[in-house]
């Protein structure tokens, strides 16, 4: 479907109301808008059935943004079982966007990371609060989730993380051995900068492992590493996080050792 087609048909899908800080209305991503338009002639029962497709490679797999769109419509169109199905699928998407790591404790026994469980619980509660408020009066903040569901959830996760104790997180993270005396030069850490360009890094699953390990670092180390990935110099990173260059270097070095140990990658040192 061309942009022209989308524009000419756009009146059959209600536009979003949320505006940018500059006063410009947010619009759905073109693929979401096209999907909603293609569904406009389907019954709600057909759409609910389609929402149950779990295979993301299936051509009929529905985006989370579209599922949310129809769940929001339920306030005006009744609460039939089709809307309940859509709501169930929406919660599944919510859970998948807030993953909780499981850790093997003995044999086949696993336990969920309590920190990540707490974060997920807070995200789900906040999202449900927004949905309920939207039933009474249009809640513009929910528009963010119709634009990019997973990214909007990331913003909610950040708020939830801020409000969840850092201590809990550290208690669960893998123990890291630190070699404080090890010396590093400032070069040779390109493997991290390449993470910003997926085409330059190794297979997808390994990239995810590296990024997960970075995500597990203590906040102060992770912040420095993230800025280095973005291409900032150590001096610039120090200025942004509000510490001296020496402290930033220390954090980076600790992170490098920790990552190398977790990932078994000598090239990170």
């Amino acid at each position: 479907m061309t942009e022209k087609d989308l524009v000419s048909l756009s009146t059959s899908v209600p536009p979003l109301r949320k505006k940018t800080a500059g006063g410009k209305p947010y619009v759905r991503r073109s693929e979401v808008q096209a999907e909603l338009l293609s569904l406009s002639s389907n019954t709600i029962d057909e759409i609910a059935d389609q929402s149950m497709i779990l295979d993301q490679d299936d051509e009929n797999y529905l985006s989370s943004e579209s599922i949310l769109h129809f769940v929001r419509q339920s306030k005006a169109n009744g609460d039939s079982s089709a809307y309940e199905t859509l709501f169930r699928q929406l919660r599944q998407r919510l859970f998948k966007a807030t993953p909780v790591r499981e850790k093997q404790i003995s044999g086949s026994q696993v336990t969920a990371d309590p920190y990540q469980e707490e974060v997920r619980s807070r995200v789900v509660d906040k999202f449900m609060e927004l949905l309920c408020e939207d039933r009474n009066e249009y809640r513009e903040r929910l528009d963010y989730f119709e634009i990019n569901f997973n990214n909007a959830i990331a913003a909610l996760r950040q708020t939830a993380r801020r409000n969840t104790s850092e201590r809990e997180k550290r208690e669960y993270a893998e123990p890291l051995l630190l070699y404080e005396s090890q010396q590093f030069d400032d070069d040779g850490f390109n493997v991290l900068q390449n993470l910003n360009e997926p085409s330059k890094t190794e297979p997808g699953h390994y990239r995810f492992e590296v990024l997960s390990a970075i995500n597990d670092l203590p906040d102060d180390e992770r912040h420095v590493i993230e800025l280095l990935i973005q291409g900032y110099l150590l001096r610039e990173a120090a200025e942004i996080v509000g510490c001296t260059e020496k402290t930033a270097r220390h954090r980076r070095n600790r992170a490098r050792i920790a990552l190398a140990e977790v990932l078994g990658r000598e090239d990170l040192i």
């Binding site: 109301r17 306030k75 005006a76 449900m128 913003a155 950040q158 970075i214 973005q230």
Partner: protein, 195 residues
């Protein structure tokens, strides 16, 4: 908007950016230095999530789903929300322009002074689209008693009298229309027939 909501809106806006490169991060850091930790964390988080392998088949246990659905259903408002509520002042004028109708006609819809049964289907669809409200919700809103009668109940000690509604046809016959507005109404009426 309180401080937390304002902070969250910055974070939401950041996650909506089509490009989250250094240039974008620079801009947000410059405008919101107090949110540096949050912005850096989100930047890291989004990269991680984008690289996450697809998890196609797994269904996550959700024992609280039934309660959550019942809570959502219970949040249903007793009266249909006003689809025109967000359109005040200049935005109301823009709404009229979008509909290609004079303000007096749109105000009559807003105040529920028009018999809903006489409004052409195409116009109902346009009202729904332009106010970002489902057509059923617009219909339910317009079917409620006129707002003038409702407001009088609070302003006067005496019982309000019934306000007579007009048909859509009566409304356009008593309104001065420009050529464009006349064309728009002809399009709304389709084959020249109102409901």
């Amino acid at each position: 908007m309180n401080r937390d909501e304002s902070r969250d809106d910055v974070l939401f806006a950041f996650t909506m950016e089509p490009q989250r490169d250094r240039k974008t991060l620079d801009r947000y850091l410059a405008e919101n230095p107090e949110l540096a930790s949050d912005l850096i964390d989100i930047s890291s988080e989004l990269r991680l999530r984008e690289s996450q392998p697809k998890d196609n088949a797994k269904v996550i246990d959700d024992p609280e789903c039934d309660d959550a659905w019942n809570t959502l259903v219970a949040a249903q408002p007793q009266t249909s929300p006003n689809p025109f509520a967000a359109f005040q002042g200049r935005e109301f004028v823009e709404l009229c322009k979008s509909l290609r109708l004079p303000r007096s006609i749109v105000a009559a819809f807003r105040d529920r002074l028009v018999d809903v049964e006489t409004i052409p289907d195409r116009l109902m669809d346009s009202l729904a689209a332009c106010t970002a409200t489902a057509t059923d919700a617009v219909t339910k809103y317009l079917a409620q008693p006129p707002t003038t009668a409702v407001s009088m109940e609070f302003k006067s000690g005496r019982k309000p009298t019934e306000v007579d509604r007009v048909t859509f046809q009566q409304l356009i016959e008593n309104t001065q229309l420009s050529d464009d507005q006349r064309d728009a109404i002809t399009e709304y009426l389709g084959d020249g027939q109102s409901n």
